[in-house]
């Protein structure tokens, strides 16, 4: 109750000190009571680490990055196509809207199931590349649907005077979009698209659910397999750390880009 008599700044300071004290207390409690050898054995086991390297890098991390790049490039191109269709109006835009809303409205996991299981089982059609091919197609489509909305917003953020100036020079609608509006729109959407890249990198872990062959495994599948093989969480912990090694610099880059690109192009 004595706290209530303090000035607001003093009260805030007291509150901060109290929370630090509690935090340090909890950490100390854990540090003194925890069974460190057992924890290390289960979560950061040097023997297990020795076994999963270098495959967790040269197969799992490599595949995660490869799938991310493939799905991002494919998804961005699809997103540009859908965004241009959507702003064009007419039947094309109805198709684009239906496509975007369907794949944004359905869980990404369901979309992966759609291409990996539902379509092949229902129709007998096999996607090129097998399971991983179907999975990547699913990621491309999910990314395309999300980035289409980002790119459409970018297109609409380009001032109308730009189109008017281009049209007054005799440019067609297509030339205006391709040479004047899109180059500016894509610059505007660099920060949110980098964000999308981070999301996609993490979403490649959904590929675990469709069952990947050993050489196709990405970080999460690799970590989960390691959990079963070695009865230790170490492979999953290492996989999580490897995700962070990639996502944290990217997230930092996004905030830098946002600051750099926001005030003026």
């Amino acid at each position: 109750m004595a706290v209530l008599k303090l000035k607001p700044t003093q009260r805030a300071r007291a509150g901060r000190l109290l929370s630090y004290a509690v935090g340090i207390g909890v950490i100390a409690l854990v540090a003194f009571t925890a069974d460190w050898p057992k924890l290390q054995h289960n979560f950061f086991n040097p023997d297990v680490i020795a076994k999963i390297f270098p495959n967790i890098i040269v197969i799992a991390l490599r595949n995660t990055l490869l799938y991310t790049v493939v799905a991002f490039v494919g998804g961005s191109l699809l997103g540009i196509l859908l965004a241009v269709m959507k702003v064009a109006g007419g039947p094309l835009s109805w198709f684009a809207i239906a496509f975007i809303e369907f794949f944004r409205g359905v869980p990404a996991l369901m979309t992966l199931f759609l291409f990996a299981f539902i379509i092949p089982i229902a129709t007998g059609f096999q996607f090129p590349g097998g399971t991983i091919g179907a999975g990547l197609l699913g990621l491309v489509i999910v990314t395309g649907a999300y980035s289409a909305e980002i790119i459409r917003a970018g297109i609409e953020a380009v001032a109308g005077g730009q189109s008017e100036a281009a049209r007054s020079l005799g440019m067609t609608q297509g030339q205006t979009m391709g040479w004047i509006v899109l180059p500016q729109a894509l610059r505007i959407v660099i920060p949110p698209m980098t964000n999308e890249l981070v999301m996609l990198l993490k979403d490649t872990s959904l590929l675990f659910s469709i069952g990947l062959a050993a050489p196709d495994r990405e970080l999460t599948t690799f970590g989960k397999d390691g959990l079963s093989t070695y009865a230790s969480a170490t492979p999953l912990i290492v996989a999580a750390l490897l995700y962070l090694v990639v996502t944290l610099p990217l997230t930092y880059l996004v905030s830098k880009l946002e600051k750099k690109l926001d005030p003026k192009r």
Partner: protein, 269 residues
Amino acid sequence: MSSMATPASAGLSPIQIRGLRKSFGSNEVLRGIDLDVLEGEVVCVIGPSGSGKSTLLRCVNLLEQPTAGSVKLLGEEMTDPDVEINQVRTHVGMVFQAFNLFPHLTALGNCMIAQQQVLKRSKAEALEIAKKNLTMVGLSDRMDYHPAKLSGGQQQRVAIARALSMDPKIMLFDEPTAALDPELVGDVLAVMRDLAQAGMTMMVVTHEMAFARDVSDRTVFMDAGVIVEQGPSAQLISNPGHKRTQIFLKRVLDPTHIDDSELGETEPD
């Protein structure tokens, strides 16, 4: 009212406007405009804001779709859906109040892109023409600059060079100096004066009365979507015949002079 502007041979007028009407929803901005601009003629359109003069200019190259009436540009009926509008527009340069330069391209790039993409000129040819026009507007030392690095007056001169690089037969100016700091207006007007003296057919919406009086052949006064009065520029500006023109000019030329007795009749809406 515009009968004096109709030439003996209609084919000689690069711009022929007949019965032009434009509505935005229930708001009729143009209420029947007839206007011809002769080859080599410089016509200024003046009038209070909201009088429809910018809309008129934007209807000429169909940036606005007219609600009714006819616009003939270089003999082509712009309201005819079968006319290749993009083709006609390549012959009609337009300069905007807000410049509307392409920010991702340099001054040269701004002047080259449509030459290459629309006129299919080679890069070398487009470059040569762009350089010639940027030099003509006094920006030979700013060719590689992006618009963000240029002053408003320089940007507007790039915009003029961009339009001229298409070798237009007609130039349309939509309040080209209205967004400029006063000390930068002169450079832009000087370029426009050179253009007029070189014989370019020009239609200029402007508030620069000195430019209208000294450079243009004819001045059109618009108010409330109609042409109230038009005539040789010096005559119309120094000796307007119509009451509304007189009131408008008095206000523009002497902004500190406000006569309460006039206020009631000047706002028709």
